[in-house]
Protein backbone atom coordinates (compact mmCIF):
# COMPACT_ATOMS: atom_id res chain seq x y z
CA UNK A 1 0.00 0.00 0.00
CA UNK A 2 2.77 2.44 0.93
CA UNK A 3 6.47 2.35 1.77
CA UNK A 4 9.18 4.63 3.22
CA UNK A 5 6.50 6.31 5.28
CA UNK A 6 7.71 7.99 8.45
CA UNK A 7 5.91 10.55 10.61
CA UNK A 8 5.29 11.56 14.18
CA UNK A 9 2.58 13.42 16.02
CA UNK A 10 3.33 15.73 18.93
CA UNK A 11 0.78 16.53 21.68
CA UNK A 12 -1.68 19.02 20.24
CA UNK A 13 -0.58 18.12 16.72
CA UNK A 14 -2.70 17.33 13.75
CA UNK A 15 -1.94 15.30 10.66
CA UNK A 16 -4.00 15.61 7.52
CA UNK A 17 -3.89 12.59 5.23
CA UNK A 18 -4.54 13.37 1.62
CA UNK A 19 -4.15 11.43 -1.58
CA UNK A 20 -6.20 9.97 -4.38
CA UNK A 21 -8.80 7.26 -3.76
CA UNK A 22 -7.15 3.98 -2.95
CA UNK A 23 -3.87 5.55 -1.84
CA UNK A 24 -4.28 4.05 1.63
CA UNK A 25 -5.65 6.83 3.84
CA UNK A 26 -8.14 4.54 5.56
CA UNK A 27 -5.58 1.74 5.71
CA UNK A 28 -3.09 4.01 7.45
CA UNK A 29 -5.71 5.08 10.00
CA UNK A 30 -6.66 1.45 10.65
CA UNK A 31 -2.99 0.63 10.99
CA UNK A 32 -2.56 3.47 13.50
CA UNK A 33 -5.56 2.10 15.41
CA UNK A 34 -3.89 -1.30 15.62
CA UNK A 35 -6.63 -3.07 13.65
CA UNK A 36 -4.26 -4.01 10.85
CA UNK A 37 -0.74 -5.14 11.71
CA UNK A 38 1.92 -3.45 9.55
CA UNK A 39 3.58 -5.75 7.04
CA UNK A 40 6.91 -4.11 7.81
CA UNK A 41 7.81 -1.29 10.15
CA UNK A 42 6.67 -0.23 13.58
CA UNK A 43 4.22 2.03 15.33
CA UNK A 44 5.26 3.58 18.63
CA UNK A 45 3.72 5.69 21.38
CA UNK A 46 6.16 7.65 23.55
CA UNK A 47 8.96 5.51 22.19
CA UNK A 48 7.25 2.25 23.17
CA UNK A 49 6.03 -0.10 20.48
CA UNK A 50 2.24 -0.19 20.36
CA UNK A 51 2.25 -3.95 19.77
CA UNK A 52 3.62 -4.49 23.29
CA UNK A 53 0.39 -3.37 24.94
CA UNK A 54 -2.46 -3.26 22.40
CA UNK A 55 -5.14 -2.77 25.09
CA UNK A 56 -3.46 0.39 26.40
CA UNK A 57 -3.20 1.67 22.85
CA UNK A 58 -6.89 1.03 22.18
CA UNK A 59 -7.76 2.92 25.39
CA UNK A 60 -6.09 6.08 24.11
CA UNK A 61 -7.65 6.32 20.66
CA UNK A 62 -10.91 6.77 18.84
CA UNK A 63 -11.41 5.70 15.25
CA UNK A 64 -14.38 7.09 13.36
CA UNK A 65 -14.61 5.12 10.14
CA UNK A 66 -16.98 5.23 7.20
CA UNK A 67 -19.66 3.35 9.08
CA UNK A 68 -21.61 5.07 11.83
CA UNK A 69 -21.95 1.86 13.92
CA UNK A 70 -25.41 2.79 15.20
CA UNK A 71 -28.16 0.42 16.27
CA UNK A 72 -31.61 1.35 14.92
CA UNK A 73 -33.43 0.42 18.14
CA UNK A 74 -31.14 2.19 20.63
CA UNK A 75 -31.76 5.83 21.48
CA UNK A 76 -29.17 8.55 20.92
CA UNK A 77 -28.49 8.83 24.66
CA UNK A 78 -28.19 5.03 25.04
CA UNK A 79 -25.74 4.88 22.15
CA UNK A 80 -23.43 7.40 23.80
CA UNK A 81 -23.94 5.86 27.24
CA UNK A 82 -22.94 2.46 25.87
CA UNK A 83 -19.89 3.95 24.21
CA UNK A 84 -18.73 5.52 27.49
CA UNK A 85 -19.37 2.31 29.44
CA UNK A 86 -17.63 0.16 26.83
CA UNK A 87 -14.52 2.32 27.14
CA UNK A 88 -14.86 2.40 30.94
CA UNK A 89 -14.96 6.17 31.18
CA UNK A 90 -17.41 8.07 33.36
CA UNK A 91 -20.84 8.82 31.84
CA UNK A 92 -20.44 12.51 32.79
CA UNK A 93 -19.18 13.40 29.33
CA UNK A 94 -22.32 12.18 27.57
CA UNK A 95 -24.41 15.39 28.13
CA UNK A 96 -21.46 17.50 26.92
CA UNK A 97 -21.11 15.33 23.82
CA UNK A 98 -24.85 15.67 23.11
CA UNK A 99 -24.70 19.44 23.51
CA UNK A 100 -21.55 19.96 21.47
CA UNK A 101 -23.05 18.25 18.44
CA UNK A 102 -26.56 19.66 18.98
CA UNK A 103 -28.10 16.28 19.66
CA UNK A 104 -29.61 17.08 23.08
CA UNK A 105 -33.13 17.49 21.73
CA UNK A 106 -32.81 14.16 19.88
CA UNK A 107 -31.46 12.30 22.93
CA UNK A 108 -34.51 10.09 23.47
CA UNK A 109 -35.11 9.26 19.82
CA UNK A 110 -34.16 5.84 18.43
CA UNK A 111 -31.34 5.96 15.87
CA UNK A 112 -33.54 4.56 13.10
CA UNK A 113 -35.38 7.89 12.73
CA UNK A 114 -32.19 9.96 12.40
CA UNK A 115 -31.17 11.50 9.09
CA UNK A 116 -27.79 10.69 7.53
CA UNK A 117 -26.28 13.93 8.82
CA UNK A 118 -27.65 13.37 12.31
CA UNK A 119 -26.25 9.83 12.32
CA UNK A 120 -22.86 11.23 11.37
CA UNK A 121 -23.05 13.79 14.17
CA UNK A 122 -23.88 11.02 16.63
CA UNK A 123 -20.92 8.95 15.41
CA UNK A 124 -18.70 11.98 16.00
CA UNK A 125 -20.30 12.74 19.39
CA UNK A 126 -19.11 9.30 20.47
CA UNK A 127 -15.51 10.55 20.54
CA UNK A 128 -16.50 13.26 23.02
CA UNK A 129 -18.53 10.86 25.16
CA UNK A 130 -15.36 9.08 26.27
CA UNK A 131 -12.21 11.23 26.15
CA UNK A 132 -9.13 9.79 24.44
CA UNK A 133 -5.91 11.58 23.45
CA UNK A 134 -5.74 10.33 19.85
CA UNK A 135 -8.52 10.86 17.32
CA UNK A 136 -8.38 9.02 14.02
CA UNK A 137 -11.06 10.44 11.74
CA UNK A 138 -11.75 8.93 8.34
CA UNK A 139 -13.63 11.39 6.11
CA UNK A 140 -15.59 12.74 9.11
CA UNK A 141 -17.19 15.54 7.10
CA UNK A 142 -19.25 13.27 4.82
CA UNK A 143 -22.90 14.28 5.14
CA UNK A 144 -22.30 17.13 7.59
CA UNK A 145 -23.98 20.52 7.07
CA UNK A 146 -22.09 23.80 7.56
CA UNK A 147 -23.22 24.26 11.17
CA UNK A 148 -22.06 20.74 12.07
CA UNK A 149 -18.73 21.39 10.35
CA UNK A 150 -18.26 24.34 12.69
CA UNK A 151 -19.13 22.08 15.67
CA UNK A 152 -16.60 19.50 14.51
CA UNK A 153 -13.84 22.06 13.99
CA UNK A 154 -14.55 23.59 17.41
CA UNK A 155 -14.37 20.14 19.03
CA UNK A 156 -11.08 19.47 17.23
CA UNK A 157 -9.65 22.84 18.33
CA UNK A 158 -10.59 22.16 21.98
CA UNK A 159 -9.15 18.68 21.76
CA UNK A 160 -5.84 20.00 20.42
CA UNK A 161 -5.75 22.84 22.95
CA UNK A 162 -5.86 20.19 25.68
CA UNK A 163 -2.92 18.40 24.10
CA UNK A 164 -4.95 15.88 22.10
CA UNK A 165 -3.74 14.53 18.79
CA UNK A 166 -5.56 14.11 15.53
CA UNK A 167 -5.04 12.27 12.29
CA UNK A 168 -7.69 12.99 9.72
CA UNK A 169 -8.24 11.70 6.22
CA UNK A 170 -10.11 14.23 4.16
CA UNK A 171 -10.67 15.57 0.67
CA UNK A 172 -11.91 18.95 1.89
CA UNK A 173 -9.39 21.68 2.73
CA UNK A 174 -10.11 22.01 6.47
CA UNK A 175 -8.87 25.06 8.40
CA UNK A 176 -6.61 23.23 10.84
CA UNK A 177 -3.87 25.55 12.12
CA UNK A 178 -0.32 24.17 12.21
CA UNK A 179 -1.38 20.81 10.80
CA UNK A 180 1.12 18.57 9.07
CA UNK A 181 0.08 17.09 5.76
CA UNK A 182 0.91 13.65 4.51
CA UNK A 183 0.19 13.09 0.86
CA UNK A 184 -0.01 9.34 0.62
CA UNK A 185 0.22 9.33 -3.15
CA UNK A 186 3.94 10.14 -2.74
CA UNK A 187 4.60 6.96 -0.79
CA UNK A 188 3.05 4.48 -3.18
CA UNK A 189 5.35 1.50 -3.67
CA UNK A 190 7.38 1.73 -6.88
CA UNK A 191 6.32 -1.15 -9.02
CA UNK A 192 9.20 -2.95 -10.65
CA UNK A 193 8.55 -3.24 -14.37
CA UNK A 194 7.45 -6.76 -15.14
Amino acid sequence: MFERLDFELAPGGALVLTGPNGSGKSSLLRLMAGLTPPHLGALSWDGMAVAEDPAAHRARLHLVGHQDALKPVLTVAETLGFSAALRETSPDHVPTALRRFHLAELAELPCRVLSAGQRRRLALARILASPAPLWLLDEPTTGLDDASMVDLLAAIADHRARGGMLAIATHLPLPLPAAGTLSLGDFAPRRSPS
Binding site: R30, A33, G34, L35, T36, P37, A55, A56, R58, A59, L61, H62, L63, G65, H66, Q67, D68, A69, L70, K71, V73, L74, E78, F82, S83, A85, L86, R87, E88, R126
Partner: protein, 221 residues
Protein backbone atom coordinates in the same frame (compact mmCIF):
# COMPACT_ATOMS: atom_id res chain seq x y z
CA UNK B 1 -16.16 -5.24 34.27
CA UNK B 2 -18.19 -2.12 33.40
CA UNK B 3 -17.51 -2.73 29.73
CA UNK B 4 -18.42 -6.43 29.97
CA UNK B 5 -21.71 -5.61 31.69
CA UNK B 6 -22.44 -2.79 29.25
CA UNK B 7 -21.99 -5.14 26.31
CA UNK B 8 -24.25 -7.83 27.81
CA UNK B 9 -26.91 -5.24 28.64
CA UNK B 10 -26.72 -3.76 25.15
CA UNK B 11 -27.17 -7.15 23.48
CA UNK B 12 -30.07 -8.01 25.80
CA UNK B 13 -31.68 -4.66 25.06
CA UNK B 14 -31.24 -5.17 21.31
CA UNK B 15 -32.72 -8.67 21.55
CA UNK B 16 -35.69 -7.47 23.59
CA UNK B 17 -36.46 -4.51 21.35
CA UNK B 18 -36.02 -6.38 18.10
CA UNK B 19 -37.73 -9.35 19.69
CA UNK B 20 -37.95 -11.48 16.61
CA UNK B 21 -34.77 -13.58 16.90
CA UNK B 22 -35.38 -15.09 20.33
CA UNK B 23 -39.07 -15.62 19.64
CA UNK B 24 -38.26 -17.33 16.32
CA UNK B 25 -35.88 -19.74 18.00
CA UNK B 26 -38.46 -20.81 20.58
CA UNK B 27 -41.22 -20.98 17.95
CA UNK B 28 -39.04 -23.19 15.76
CA UNK B 29 -38.25 -25.45 18.74
CA UNK B 30 -41.95 -25.87 19.60
CA UNK B 31 -43.13 -26.38 16.03
CA UNK B 32 -40.40 -28.83 15.08
CA UNK B 33 -41.04 -31.02 18.14
CA UNK B 34 -44.79 -30.89 17.54
CA UNK B 35 -44.22 -32.26 14.01
CA UNK B 36 -42.86 -35.58 15.30
CA UNK B 37 -46.11 -37.05 16.66
CA UNK B 38 -47.63 -36.33 13.26
CA UNK B 39 -44.73 -37.97 11.49
CA UNK B 40 -44.19 -41.12 13.54
CA UNK B 41 -47.72 -41.60 14.89
CA UNK B 42 -49.19 -40.88 18.31
CA UNK B 43 -48.41 -44.16 20.17
CA UNK B 44 -47.22 -43.11 23.65
CA UNK B 45 -44.59 -45.88 23.95
CA UNK B 46 -42.93 -44.93 20.71
CA UNK B 47 -42.93 -41.22 21.54
CA UNK B 48 -41.61 -41.86 25.05
CA UNK B 49 -38.79 -43.94 23.58
CA UNK B 50 -37.61 -41.12 21.28
CA UNK B 51 -38.61 -38.13 23.45
CA UNK B 52 -35.16 -37.24 24.81
CA UNK B 53 -33.49 -37.52 21.43
CA UNK B 54 -36.13 -35.45 19.64
CA UNK B 55 -36.08 -32.66 22.21
CA UNK B 56 -32.28 -32.49 22.17
CA UNK B 57 -31.82 -32.65 18.40
CA UNK B 58 -34.48 -30.00 17.87
CA UNK B 59 -32.91 -27.79 20.54
CA UNK B 60 -29.54 -28.03 18.74
CA UNK B 61 -31.13 -27.02 15.45
CA UNK B 62 -33.03 -24.17 17.12
CA UNK B 63 -29.84 -22.87 18.74
CA UNK B 64 -28.11 -23.05 15.37
CA UNK B 65 -30.83 -20.93 13.80
CA UNK B 66 -29.84 -17.80 15.73
CA UNK B 67 -26.07 -18.17 15.51
CA UNK B 68 -25.46 -16.44 12.19
CA UNK B 69 -26.82 -13.25 13.75
CA UNK B 70 -24.29 -13.37 16.60
CA UNK B 71 -21.64 -11.20 14.93
CA UNK B 72 -23.13 -10.47 11.52
CA UNK B 73 -25.21 -7.40 12.36
CA UNK B 74 -22.43 -5.85 14.42
CA UNK B 75 -19.99 -6.59 11.63
CA UNK B 76 -22.14 -5.02 8.93
CA UNK B 77 -22.92 -1.75 10.73
CA UNK B 78 -19.37 -1.24 12.05
CA UNK B 79 -20.21 -1.85 15.72
CA UNK B 80 -17.88 -4.82 15.83
CA UNK B 81 -14.99 -2.52 14.98
CA UNK B 82 -15.98 -0.12 17.76
CA UNK B 83 -16.14 -3.07 20.18
CA UNK B 84 -12.79 -4.42 18.97
CA UNK B 85 -11.21 -0.99 19.51
CA UNK B 86 -12.43 -0.75 23.11
CA UNK B 87 -9.81 -1.51 25.79
CA UNK B 88 -11.79 -4.66 26.71
CA UNK B 89 -9.99 -7.71 25.24
CA UNK B 90 -11.82 -9.12 22.22
CA UNK B 91 -12.05 -12.49 24.00
CA UNK B 92 -13.99 -10.90 26.88
CA UNK B 93 -16.24 -9.06 24.43
CA UNK B 94 -17.04 -12.37 22.71
CA UNK B 95 -17.76 -13.99 26.08
CA UNK B 96 -20.18 -11.14 26.83
CA UNK B 97 -21.91 -11.67 23.50
CA UNK B 98 -22.14 -15.44 24.16
CA UNK B 99 -23.67 -14.77 27.58
CA UNK B 100 -26.28 -12.47 26.05
CA UNK B 101 -26.92 -15.03 23.29
CA UNK B 102 -27.43 -17.78 25.84
CA UNK B 103 -29.77 -15.65 27.95
CA UNK B 104 -31.92 -14.81 24.93
CA UNK B 105 -31.93 -18.20 23.16
CA UNK B 106 -30.46 -20.99 25.33
CA UNK B 107 -32.38 -20.14 28.48
CA UNK B 108 -35.80 -19.95 26.75
CA UNK B 109 -35.09 -23.39 25.23
CA UNK B 110 -34.37 -24.80 28.71
CA UNK B 111 -37.63 -23.29 30.01
CA UNK B 112 -39.77 -24.66 27.15
CA UNK B 113 -38.13 -28.10 27.02
CA UNK B 114 -40.14 -29.78 29.86
CA UNK B 115 -43.45 -28.82 28.23
CA UNK B 116 -42.33 -30.29 24.92
CA UNK B 117 -41.01 -33.40 26.69
CA UNK B 118 -44.48 -33.76 28.20
CA UNK B 119 -45.96 -33.62 24.73
CA UNK B 120 -43.56 -36.40 23.72
CA UNK B 121 -44.75 -38.52 26.71
CA UNK B 122 -41.37 -38.49 28.46
CA UNK B 123 -41.57 -40.59 31.65
CA UNK B 124 -41.57 -38.75 34.98
CA UNK B 125 -37.98 -39.49 36.14
CA UNK B 126 -36.61 -37.92 32.98
CA UNK B 127 -37.75 -34.34 33.50
CA UNK B 128 -35.29 -33.11 36.09
CA UNK B 129 -32.23 -34.58 34.26
CA UNK B 130 -33.54 -33.09 31.01
CA UNK B 131 -33.71 -29.58 32.46
CA UNK B 132 -30.35 -29.86 34.25
CA UNK B 133 -28.65 -31.37 31.19
CA UNK B 134 -30.03 -28.65 28.94
CA UNK B 135 -29.05 -25.94 31.40
CA UNK B 136 -25.50 -27.35 31.34
CA UNK B 137 -25.43 -28.14 27.62
CA UNK B 138 -26.91 -25.01 26.01
CA UNK B 139 -24.09 -22.67 27.15
CA UNK B 140 -21.69 -24.98 25.29
CA UNK B 141 -23.89 -24.60 22.21
CA UNK B 142 -23.63 -20.80 22.38
CA UNK B 143 -19.87 -20.88 22.99
CA UNK B 144 -18.99 -23.41 20.29
CA UNK B 145 -21.45 -21.67 17.99
CA UNK B 146 -19.59 -18.39 18.45
CA UNK B 147 -16.45 -19.98 16.99
CA UNK B 148 -18.43 -21.13 13.96
CA UNK B 149 -20.12 -17.74 13.62
CA UNK B 150 -16.75 -15.97 13.76
CA UNK B 151 -15.21 -18.32 11.19
CA UNK B 152 -18.08 -18.00 8.73
CA UNK B 153 -18.40 -14.22 9.16
CA UNK B 154 -18.63 -12.44 5.83
CA UNK B 155 -18.79 -15.68 3.84
CA UNK B 156 -21.43 -16.17 1.20
CA UNK B 157 -24.21 -18.48 2.43
CA UNK B 158 -22.74 -18.10 5.91
CA UNK B 159 -25.72 -19.87 7.49
CA UNK B 160 -25.13 -23.12 5.60
CA UNK B 161 -21.39 -23.02 6.20
CA UNK B 162 -22.02 -22.36 9.87
CA UNK B 163 -24.23 -25.47 10.18
CA UNK B 164 -21.58 -27.62 8.56
CA UNK B 165 -18.90 -26.24 10.88
CA UNK B 166 -20.83 -26.35 14.11
CA UNK B 167 -23.17 -29.36 14.00
CA UNK B 168 -20.37 -31.98 14.18
CA UNK B 169 -19.03 -30.18 17.25
CA UNK B 170 -22.44 -30.37 18.90
CA UNK B 171 -22.49 -34.19 18.77
CA UNK B 172 -20.79 -34.77 22.17
CA UNK B 173 -23.27 -32.47 23.90
CA UNK B 174 -26.10 -34.33 22.17
CA UNK B 175 -24.81 -37.80 23.16
CA UNK B 176 -24.34 -37.00 26.82
CA UNK B 177 -27.43 -34.82 27.05
CA UNK B 178 -29.66 -37.59 25.70
CA UNK B 179 -27.86 -40.26 27.74
CA UNK B 180 -28.51 -38.36 30.99
CA UNK B 181 -32.27 -38.41 30.35
CA UNK B 182 -32.42 -42.01 29.15
CA UNK B 183 -30.36 -43.32 32.06
CA UNK B 184 -32.69 -41.52 34.47
CA UNK B 185 -35.75 -43.07 32.81
CA UNK B 186 -34.10 -46.51 32.98
CA UNK B 187 -33.37 -45.98 36.68
CA UNK B 188 -29.61 -45.46 36.54
CA UNK B 189 -27.45 -42.64 37.86
CA UNK B 190 -27.28 -39.49 35.71
CA UNK B 191 -24.44 -37.84 37.60
CA UNK B 192 -21.58 -39.00 35.32
CA UNK B 193 -23.33 -37.61 32.24
CA UNK B 194 -24.10 -34.30 33.88
CA UNK B 195 -20.48 -34.05 35.04
CA UNK B 196 -19.25 -34.61 31.50
CA UNK B 197 -21.59 -31.87 30.24
CA UNK B 198 -20.17 -29.61 32.97
CA UNK B 199 -16.68 -30.48 31.80
CA UNK B 200 -17.62 -29.49 28.24
CA UNK B 201 -18.89 -26.08 29.27
CA UNK B 202 -15.89 -25.47 31.53
CA UNK B 203 -13.54 -26.30 28.66
CA UNK B 204 -15.51 -24.18 26.19
CA UNK B 205 -15.59 -21.12 28.49
CA UNK B 206 -11.92 -20.19 27.98
CA UNK B 207 -11.26 -21.96 24.67
CA UNK B 208 -14.21 -20.84 22.55
CA UNK B 209 -13.83 -17.04 23.07
CA UNK B 210 -10.11 -17.39 22.42
CA UNK B 211 -10.69 -19.29 19.16
CA UNK B 212 -13.51 -16.98 18.09
CA UNK B 213 -11.34 -13.90 18.70
CA UNK B 214 -8.57 -15.43 16.58
CA UNK B 215 -11.13 -15.98 13.81
CA UNK B 216 -12.60 -12.48 14.09
CA UNK B 217 -9.34 -10.52 13.97
CA UNK B 218 -8.58 -11.18 10.28
CA UNK B 219 -12.18 -10.22 9.43
CA UNK B 220 -11.61 -6.83 11.10
CA UNK B 221 -8.35 -6.00 9.35
Amino acid sequence: MTAFRALVMRDLRLALRQGSDAALVVAFFVLAVVLFPFGVGPEPQLLARIAAGIVWVTALLAALLSLDRLFEQDYEDGSLEVIALAPLPLEAAILAKCLAHWLTTGLPLVVVAPALAGLMQLEAPGYLPLVVAMALGTPSLSLVGAVGAALSLGARRAGVLLSLLVLPLYIPVLIFGVAAVEQAVAGFATRPYLLILTAFVLAALPLAPWAAAAALRPALE
